[in-house]
């Protein structure tokens, strides 16, 4: 037997309220603190502290990560079960806990709650039901009792307009996969001891990988219910328990099979093949991550241009991403794509500040020109009026009559290819011309008849740039 009884598994100091604070932010007599202690004691006693992750809700318990000395994250309002799903699946060895109040779990998050329960996710959900919205100031919740006065039901909850209280344990008991469902209370000593057992059992189920456990905990909220601490505890027993009877609705933990060992993860590189990555092209010497963005309207070949560049970079042996973005219109809406190339694995395909921006119409110029990073290049079609005031410091703008060059060659739709010619002439991509031309021709693999005309546009654009002294003088 222990010779002392003290809180375990919580931080010795709660930094939220100053460097020396050892008190929570909860009101006097709030049930959260009692439950926090029980949960912390359980994961310590079961030896699970080092692999426990608690997903905090929106609500009074939002600051749980200041108190529990385990992994902690916060989810968007009501979304804790979905975040817990991700954690539980990505880290099958984790003890995943979702800790939520009734506003979070039963109102805005009801869909997340039921879907996670229906899927039988491996998590313990602790549902703190105090019959009211606490943090926001005592509004009516789905769990508010009939006749209970709140700031939004000042005459008492009226079933004719407000419906009847929502019974979460009973709702979840209608689903097939949950393993353990119990409703407990922290209103007095006997009930606290029962809650302690239920919380430990839910964690044992996680430890043994048996599946989904749901523990509803009736808890006093003196402030929002408007009662003194001891009266609020009495309200839980005398009023809430009439609506929400305590007890175990289901415990299949003994017969539930343990979760099978997860399959090993497959790296994307393994999945797609390394495609010569081990032996990059001799020209792939630039170790830096390069960020390109291509913009215009749908139908101008913006996405295709980006794809050709990405394909050529791939042929060069670089890691490459291509990320398109376009409106719901088939033609005519905003179109853009980003290309990132690197000799290293690429973390994210998003490009906020490109070093190279290709602009094919006025709207794209106004939208994107200011995002080009200093030292960068904006290649803008000559039909676009560039406001000098909009050019960021240190950015070079080169206007190319891409649309005119393509039109003169009799293929107006090949303006994107004219832009590619300019990119080659300016050596703006760091990719050898040969690889870009081959990638362009690969893009016409299904329409080989178009290759000669496009090659002609490409050469015309390169000639135009050289004629105007625009060549190889780029960042």
């Amino acid at each position: 037997m222990d010779n002392a009884l003290a809180t375990k598994g919580m931080f010795p100091v709660f930094r939220r309220s100053g460097a020396e604070s050892r008190t929570t932010h909860y009101c006097a007599g709030c049930g959260h603190g009692i439950i926090h202690k029980l949960l912390a004691e359980a994961y310590v006693d079961l030896g699970l502290q080092d692999r426990t992750v608690i997903v905090n809700p929106i609500g009074c318990a939002v600051f749980g990560y200041y108190y529990w000395d385990v992994g902690g994250v916060s989810a968007g309002h009501g979304q804790a079960p979905s975040m817990a799903t991700a954690i539980s699946r990505l880290r099958p060895d984790a003890i995943t806990i979702s800790y939520q109040g009734d506003g979070d779990l039963a109102a805005i998050g009801l869909g997340h709650t039921l879907q996670a329960a229906a899927r039988g996710e491996h998590m313990a959900v602790f549902f703190v039901n105090n019959s009211i919205y606490g943090m926001t100031g005592g509004q009516m919740a789905p769990t508010t009792l009939v006749g209970q006065k709140t700031t939004t039901s000042p005459l008492g909850r009226n079933p004719e307009t407000d419906g009847m209280p929502l019974h979460l344990c009973e709702l979840i008991d209608a689903l097939r996969l949950p393993v353990y469902i119990e409703r407990v209370s922290v209103a007095d000593t006997g009930r606290i001891m029962q809650a302690r057992k239920a919380i430990r059992h839910a964690l044992e189920i996680q430890r043994d990988k048996k599946g989904y456990a749901f523990v509803e905990i009736l808890s006093p909220c003196p402030t929002s219910v408007g009662l003194k601490p001891l009266d609020a505890a009495r309200f839980v027993t005398e009023k809430m328990e009439k609506e929400y009877p305590l007890g175990c609705l289901r415990d299949r933990s003994a017969e539930a099979p343990a979760r099978p060992a997860p399959k090993p993860w497959v790296r994307l590189a393994d999945f797609f093949g390394d495609d010569g990555r081990e032996d990059p092209h001799p020209a792939a010497h630039d170790a830096r991550e390069r960020h390109f963005k291509f913009t215009g309207f749908g139908g101008q070949g913006i996405l295709s241009l980006g794809l050709v560049v990405a394909d050529a970079a791939r042929a060069l042996g670089l890691e490459t991403t291509w990320l398109p973005s376009y409106g719901p219109e088939q033609r005519g809406g905003d179109a853009q794509c980003t290309v990132v190339t690197s000799t290293q694995l690429i973390g994210a395909p998003a490009v906020e500040h490109p070093e190279l921006l290709v602009v094919m119409n006025q709207a794209a110029c106004e939208k994107h020109l200011h995002t080009v990073r200093p030292g960068g290049l904006a290649l803008v079609d000559a039909t676009v009026r560039v406001d000098p005031a909009q050019i960021p410091q240190g950015v070079r703008v080169v206007q190319i009559p891409a649309i005119d060059i393509a039109t003169a060659a009799g293929v107006p739709k090949a303006a994107n290819v004219a832009m590619l010619g300019a990119l080659i002439a300016l050596d703006a991509l760091g990719i050898p011309e040969q690889l870009l031309v081959e990638a362009l021709e690969r893009s016409f693999a299904k329409k080989p008849a178009l290759i000669p005309a496009n090659r002609q546009v490409l050469q015309a654009a390169i000639a135009h740039c050289r004629h105007h002294g625009l060549a190889g003088e780029l960042p």
């Binding site: 010779n3 809180t7 050892r22 008190t23 009692i34 202690k37 108190y67 601490p229 001891l230």
Partner: protein, 78 residues
């Protein structure tokens, strides 16, 4: 400072107490009471009457504050 008594006794960190009274109401021996002393937050903290504690831990489990009460038992570290 935390007061010391003959074990077993409830060791009370007065600055953590919010004066909710759950512990005093739950104590089967009636050996806890809200004191007249204010803590640094201006709350009248609970205090041990000095005798009667049997070390059952009921006050600890009823207390919502992690560090307001711990139980010191015979032979244990103080």
């Amino acid at each position: 400072m935390e007061e010391r008594f003959e074990p077993p006794y409830p060791a009370i960190e007065a600055d953590c107490c919010k004066s909710c009274g759950r512990c005093a109401a739950a104590c089967p021996k009636g050996c806890l009471a809200i004191s007249e002393r204010y803590n640094r937050y201006g709350v009248k903290a609970v205090a041990y009457k000095g005798s009667g504690c049997v070390g059952c831990g009921i006050c600890f489990y009823n207390c919502p504050e992690p560090y307001a009460i711990r139980i010191v038992r015979k032979g244990g570290a103080q």
